[in-house]
Symmetry: none
Subunit: 209 residues, 4 copies
């Protein structure tokens, strides 16, 4: 016999998460202020602590939400060539960003920092998705579809970070580049590079200088 229904609790929690996304997207982990989050959520500061133990927990809950969405997206598309499957993952990721731009901004903006200073926490949250993506890449390499001097794990990390930087560019205001352009660009400028083709020879820089 709780005082408020589970629905109300969930709604409050969601409001706090939304406000947190906006604040973290604008100021980052270190710069975010609980006062602002509380006001934006229409609650008192102390209320946040009824739902999250600390600023970091709120932040990583948000990052974790994105990780979970990404992992779901990866799980959702098991068929096709490696390139098709990665392209599809990118499409789903862009879809996530379209539905919740603040969430995407938090992630793409903070990821480089997190990967330096909170590597383990981020890796743990992403691990299932990373493993899955690595399997896709590995299959592509083994089937001869992909060629690369890099390992599957490295390719996965580069794939995600390149996807992130494109999305960031698309999410910035005053930019002509939009989310709609991300997948095509990533396909042509990153994924295609793994595929066999007649290369256009380019004189090495050393030949010129």
């Amino acid at each position: 016999m709780p005082k408020v229904s589970a629905n109300e609790r969930a709604a409050t929690r969601t409001r706090l998460l939304e406000a947190g996304k906006a604040e973290f997207a604008e100021r980052g982990l270190a710069g975010a202020r609980f006062d602002e989050i509380a006001v934006a959520a229409g609650h008192a500061k102390g209320t946040i602590y009824n739902y999250f133990d600390s600023k970091e927990e709120l932040f990583f809950t948000i990052v974790g939400e994105w990780c979970a969405l990404l992992v779901d997206a990866i799980d959702a598309e098991p068929q096709g060539s490696a390139r098709q499957r990665l392209r599809r993952v990118a499409e789903l990721d862009v879809e996530i960003a379209r539905k919740d731009p603040d969430l995407a901004l938090v992630v793409v903006q903070q990821m480089p920092t997190l990967v330096v200073s909170h590597a383990s926490a981020v890796n743990a949250a992403l691990e299932p998705g990373l493993a899955r993506l690595a399997a896709i890449v590995r299959a592509g390499l083994e089937a001869g579809e992909f060629r690369s001097a890099q390992s599957a794990d490295t390719i996965v990390r580069l794939f995600l970070s390149t996807l992130s930087s494109f999305e960031l560019e698309a999410l910035l205001p005053d930019t002509e580049f939009a989310l709609d352009d991300v997948v095509g660009l990533l396909d042509r400028h990153f994924l295609e590079g793994f595929c066999e083709r007649a290369p256009i020879p380019v004189a090495s820089t050393e030949d010129i200088s």
Copy 2:
């Protein structure tokens, strides 16, 4: 008649900048502490204010140093095809990162955040280099060497952010991917995408699902 020679002043300034790079690389703009920087530089906290007006100025001086190095690199290689010239810029940028990894870490790590919250300051510092790179790209587009649905300005931003994410990956500890791999990867996966070639057709995702 200054009490300390210009040499000493310059040496102190350099020491502060070096210490600042290390601290900003480790903690970011918001997280960096003047106490640490001062101690690492072997000076008192107040001394920083004899050289820089504020934490932000110190930070943007460091970012500006990188921008200047990049602009120099861009200016240094005016010849060849657009692809060759961008590849050369990337090589020089990697060289900068190799010589001063802390500086590179600051830039590649903080850039996504800055570009959101300090867009104007960053743009101002990068403007000369951006304009130059845009000219290179524009020449490539006009000569028919490059093909892209994106504008030259957009291509430049994507070029720099992709270069950044590759460098970040290479600078992280415990990674097999190294600075030596950056340029080749960027050339094959990003730059080559702008060049005319027989594309390998890929069935669109819609055909499959």
Copy 3:
């Protein structure tokens, strides 16, 4: 017609008091937390306010319970010499401490603080007992059984505080001194000092130094 029977109410109240004793014994008045008390009592935090107006009231109810027990103890033994009667009061007090060590810990630990910052509240709660004890001492003084330069009121306060410090010592963990030793020690060292006897002369310190 209350929804819960008087028995249930009393049981809940007792559970809250017990949990309060444990918490106050461990953390003191300022450090005690209602959350802990509520959880330990198996109730919600708000329930406490159905029984006590505030933290202080809960605390003073507990202190008051001890005071009442002490007053009862004092009332229970009206006969004998002053020394015998005070000794008997000490015995009963030790008995109280043995039956409820948490309660005793609260009192002996907090009393010095309370007596400084809540003197009036404590005095009010103890007043009946203090008056009774003072009467006993006064009778001893008037009968010539006791000799002291101090007033009866002072003697009572010293008696209680000495008794408290001995009990505290006995209640601490890892101590060889036990509750069983308290009364004997108090009798021999404190009470006996009031009684006429051939004193063992001691050279005053000044004679030596």
Copy 4:
């Protein structure tokens, strides 16, 4: 070449300690507020952190100051019988309390709490003094001057806690009992109990009831 002289630093530190004593004496460790301490010392709140790492460090510095004074006092009087020497220690302790009543109030008021919840920190600070006092008591026991069922260590703890409670009583406002009365009372009501004498028989309580 510090900005302020060592004297000024020491003066500021002393002012903070004095203000801290007063606040801790009035509110205890948990209840003390840095705002009040800062204002009372005539400084900003942040200044306290230039001298002490935390509230607890400030508090234990104060307690430690008292411990050091006590240890000094114990070291100062190595001659005479055990009773004389303990009496002398008590005299010196009272002297300390007379010179700095706030300091004494902090200690006598908080000691019971500390001994429960911070036993190790307090024991460490007092250890040298405790050992010294135990040696005095042990000498008295071995010489046959003292008789007790308790160990030397226990006697020392009881001695100090009884001394504390008497001092607390003397330090309270509106009390006729004064610091001047403490040593005599302690000698007659505590120390004398250890010495051989013709006891005044007292019928045990059991004989009566």
